[in-house]
């Protein structure tokens, strides 16, 4: 079923319709800002993108794209956005509206399409993969309220970060806009690297003992894999040839501590028995 088909269930799902309203609210905020800046009928472009995207799964991509294109190819009468001061209310509203639309649309997809990805093990089977959605009853007003609280905060943070970014720091003489691009790449890359390393370290600290033992065993194997492979291959070869010799009657398995498997092989397979003791231990005769 397509996303359009899923949308038909919207009236029956009160939680989902709340998110649909948030999407519309976000688009409305964008239109207001664009109208104020004289974009006229072009202000409806993000709305059209949003509505079209809302009927498909591409809304969160189409709306920011349409907005970015419209902002940088404005109609003649449009007023430019001013970026001189630290806090730009129009940009703040624009960012908040877009963010609200994006979050709400993705959550709507989680309610109507699927939240968990399809099981990769069932890929290619004749039956279609089972889509696991989030029950719409769980989308409460409190959850939407929490989302709306962070919506204005993030654009504000983004503006602050942009203002604090060094533009000409350490420039060896490269064109300023190119140097700024390089700096931006480095700052974002380093920030992500530090965050990822910190989280990864923290995750390792949270490991349970079994997983930690496995990790150490794996490190040992990675470090000595060539030696282990060579030694183990010889051991396997020797065991194989000994057991073949025993099977053909050329030699006896012996009574050494390492020959249990050979003795078992010579008299049949080893039955598996549960090692858990029974409530009243019975006598074992072997």
């Amino acid at each position: 079923m397509s996303f359009l088909g899923d949308l038909r269930r919207l009236p029956d799902e009160p939680g989902a319709s709340r998110y649909a309203l948030v999407c519309l609210g976000g688009l409305f905020a964008i239109v207001l800002v664009l109208l104020e800046h004289g974009y006229g009928s072009w202000s409806l472009l993000p709305v059209l993108a949003g509505v079209f995207g809302g009927l498909t799964r591409f809304g969160p991509v189409l709306v920011p794209t349409a907005l970015a294109m419209l902002l940088n190819a404005p109609p003649r009468l449009a007023l430019p956005f001013s970026h001189r001061s630290a806090l730009q209310l129009a940009d703040l509203i624009l960012g908040a509206g877009t963010l609200a639309y994006v979050i709400a649309h993705y959550r709507l997809q989680g309610l109507l399409v699927h939240l968990f990805p399809p099981d990769p093990r069932r890929r290619g089977k004749s039956a279609p993969p089972r889509r696991e959605r989030r029950p719409a009853r769980l989308a409460t007003l409190a959850e939407i309220g929490g989302m709306l609280l962070i919506v204005p905060v993030l654009p504000f943070l983004a503006q602050l970060v942009w203002r604090w970014l060094p533009t000409t720091w350490g420039n060896p003489g490269i064109r300023p806009d190119i140097w700024f691009g390089i700096l931006l790449t480095w700052v974002i890359g380093l920030t992500l690297l530090i965050i990822a390393s910190a989280v990864s370290y923290w995750r390792q600290r949270q490991m349970d003992p079994e997983a930690a033992r496995l990790f150490l065993q794996d490190v040992l194997w990675q470090e000595t894999r060539s030696e282990q492979r060579r030694v183990s291959r010889w051991l396997a070869w020797a065991r194989l040839h000994r057991s073949e010799a025993v099977r053909k009657g050329y030699r006896t398995p012996g009574l050494g501590p390492g020959n249990e498997d050979l003795r078992h092989e010579s008299r049949g397979p080893v039955p598996f028995s549960d090692s858990r003791p029974v409530a009243s231990p019975a006598k074992e005769h072997s």
């Binding site: 920011p64 956005f81 699927h114 995750r203 496995l214 049949g268 029974v278 005769h285």
Partner: protein, 674 residues
């Protein structure tokens, strides 16, 4: 961790940032004007940063939640019936399960799906095993459902599966929180005649030896009246009769002598074959349990001897509820055993084991703790020297590094030739940008095909199996404490890995396919050694027998007709000591039992025929030949034992439990005639 939705979102944000950085230059390249102004690029940058900050924040939060999930969630499971908590289940009865999930202090989880993993052989009757919703610190989630077990044995509850996602569906984490509890499923309850009870028959505990043994004794049933003899206890004087006859008359009572019965149950590999609850062992366990319960309800003494190819577990005949429960526990333990032939194809075992480990031990298979370089299967293929009977495919895979080298050299030569050819074909256009673009494009496509081809066609399945084997070997080496070299050894020694994998699957009650025949076509599960084990056990039981006793052999001897001599001698010894012996042969469920007739059998046969309508003629012929072979073997066994006067019955047909209980009565009758 990232879903495709999340991946595409971050790709989009990254593209937006790239657009901010490279936008002016791209627009200059694409535009004819000398200078292009993008007036609101900063707004786009803010927008991208807003979306990116939100996405990264969500990712960090989700990662923290994943790290804390296993530490914060605690699971308890309780099984109970109408009277309270239980330690064991009964076949065919419905029990209640209560699963409590507690969340300790820490982070909250916006959306989780908790699924209680039901073990194999357990059927959910009512209730729900799934919870969906948020988890807050301090929250307690309770799941209640009823379950029913269809076959005796053991069920193992592994734990719960927890799926965690953020509300947008950008990230997904699937883990398993272990809460292992192995519970015995005892065989179904049966009455004194070996039937499952439908009505309540007795309100009082019966006296010892309910069967009447018509000899004078100390029982409670009147046998006869006779004249008083000096020495008779005064309490036996029948005063009313004495007064009527005017002389002292004494009452004589019947003798109450319990009969001893020892059941020998075969738990060897040959009877374990088949799905749980539908194999020969399950039927043997049902019969033994019915006999035990029937004899116990008559307060007779029942013993049990479980035997296989290696050892026996012997319980001396006794009576009482505690003894019966002990027998049922032992039978339940026997019923859950899985077969092993010592040989199993790794190609079938590894995917099965890996799929199970992915479900129950996902944390142990994650690349962070259990990784294998993607190039390893190319450089370190399996050695043919440590394979028992390598096939030509094994030899071919073993030469993979050499093949790869040859392929690389040939491919580079061909690639160079293609590029040179394209260059020569377009020699007139050399120096023009279009030529360079076409030339580079051709080179890129050829290089992609050159790299992609071996990945797609060179031993795809074997390389995947190599990855799975390494991860499973690491898990098994850790689980069974094989030490620092265990992982390497299991990777190289395929037979050891096969054995450990079988053990791993058997412990978790997972059925797996087996090789029944060796490379020379010999049946691997016959196990002639078990005849010796059974003989020894029977002789020991005869040695400890008190009076005329019944020995019931529930043993699969159909494949061992040539090795029966020691057992027949032991049976002769038992008969010479005035004991009685009965042999019950287990029978595969899908083969018609010997002498099967009647409407029930015809109905069953028709149903089986309908199921097999898709069989090829070869399969039908093999099935017919197998059935004929089984019938012939059964006749041979029956003849061998009938010569000694030992009745042989088939476990699948009739009611063997009832027959055994009738034999106990008959044994009592023999005592009377003696």
């Amino acid at each position: 961790m990232f879903t495709s939705r999340g991946t595409w979102f971050f790709v989009f944000v990254f593209a937006l940032l790239i657009g901010v950085v490279l936008g002016p230059y791209l627009s200059q390249i694409l535009s004819t004007e000398s200078r292009v102004v993008l007036p609101n690029l900063t707004s786009v940058a803010w927008l991208a940063l807003t979306l990116g900050t939100w996405g990264v924040g969500e990712a960090v939060l989700f990662s923290l939640r994943c790290g804390r999930l296993r530490r914060q969630v605690h699971v308890e499971r309780q099984l109970y019936d109408d009277h309270g908590p239980v330690d064991a289940l009964w076949t065919g009865w419905t029990f209640q399960a209560r699963l409590v999930v507690r969340v300790s202090d820490g982070l909250s989880f916006p959306f989780v799906k908790i699924t209680d993993r039901l073990p194999t052989g357990v059927e959910r009757a009512h209730g729900d095993t799934v919870y969906q919703g948020p988890l807050q610190p301090g929250q307690v989630v309770e799941l209640r459902y009823s379950l029913r077990c269809g076959a005796p044995g053991k069920v193992r509850f592994e734990g719960i599966r927890v799926q965690l996602a953020d509300l947008q569906g950008f990230f997904y984490h699937d883990t398993f929180i272990p809460a292992v509890s192995a519970v015995r499923v005892l065989p179904p309850l049966a009455d004194a005649r070996g039937h499952v009870p439908t009505i309540k028959r007795h309100n009082l505990l019966l006296p010892p030896g309910i069967h009447r043994h018509k000899r004078p004794g100390s029982g409670s049933e009147l046998l006869e009246l006779r004249d008083y003899l000096p020495g008779d206890p005064p309490k036996t004087i029948a005063w009313k009769v004495s007064a009527r006859r005017d002389r002292l008359i004494t009452k004589e009572f019947e003798s109450d002598v319990p009969v001893r019965c020892t059941v020998f149950v075969d738990r060897s590999n040959s009877v374990r074959v088949g799905p749980p609850g539908h194999n020969a062992l399950s039927r043997l366990v049902e019969i033994a349990a019915a006999v035990g319960q029937g004899a116990t309800s008559s307060r007779d003494l029942t013993g049990l001897c479980l035997f296989d190819e290696q050892a026996t577990t012997y319980v001396r005949p006794a009576r009482g509820r505690r003894h019966l429960i002990r027998l049922l526990h032992l039978l339940a333990d026997a019923a859950c055993l899985k077969p092993t032939s010592g040989r199993a194809e790794l190609d079938t075992l590894v995917p099965l084991g890996y799929a199970f480990a992915q479900e129950v031990y996902p944390e142990m298979l994650r690349p962070t703790v259990n990784r294998l370089a993607s190039w390893a299967p190319w450089i370190w293929p399996d050695s043919v020297f440590s394979t028992r009977h390598p096939r030509w495919k094994d030899f071919l895979y073993w030469t993979l590094p050499f093949l790869l080298l040859v392929y690389g050299v040939v491919g580079i030569v061909l690639l160079g030739a293609v590029l040179l050819g394209v260059g020569a074909a377009l020699s007139d256009a050399i120096g023009e940008p279009q030529f360079f673009l076409l030339w580079a494009l051709t080179g890129l496509v050829a290089a992609l095909v050159f790299v992609r081809l071996p990945i797609r066609w060179f031993f795809t399945r074997r390389r995947r199996l190599f990855h799975w084997r390494k991860r499973l070997a690491a898990l098994l080496a850790l689980r069974y404490g094989l030490g620092p070299g265990g992982l390497g050894l299991l990777l190289e020694d395929q037979e050891q890995l096969s054995l450990y994998l079988q053990r791993f699957l058997a412990e978790h009650q997972v059925s797996y396919p087996l090789s029944y025949y060796d490379d020379h076509g010999r049946y691997l599960l016959g196990a002639p050694r078990k005849v010796k084990v059974l003989t020894t056990a029977l002789l020991r039981a005869v040695g400890k027998g008190h009076d005329n006793e019944l020995f019931v052999l529930l043993a699969d001897l159909l494949e061992l007709t040539a090795h029966l001599a020691p057992l027949l001698n032991a049976v002769k010894v038992a008969l010479a000591r005035h004991h009685r012996v009965l042999l019950v042969c287990p029978w595969p469920p899908d083969i018609p039992p010997p002498g099967a007739r009647g409407a029930g059998f015809r109905k069953q046969k028709t149903a089986q025929d309908e199921n097999r309508s898709s069989e090829s003629s070869l399969e039908r012929s093999i099935r017919t030949a197998t059935a004929a072979r089984f019938h012939e073997a059964y006749e041979q066994v029956r003849r061998s034992f009938s010569r000694l006067g030992v009745p042989v019955v088939c476990a699948q047909g009739g009611e063997p439990a009832r027959l055994i209980l009738d034999r106990i009565d008959l044994l009592r009758g023999l005592g009377r005639r003696r």
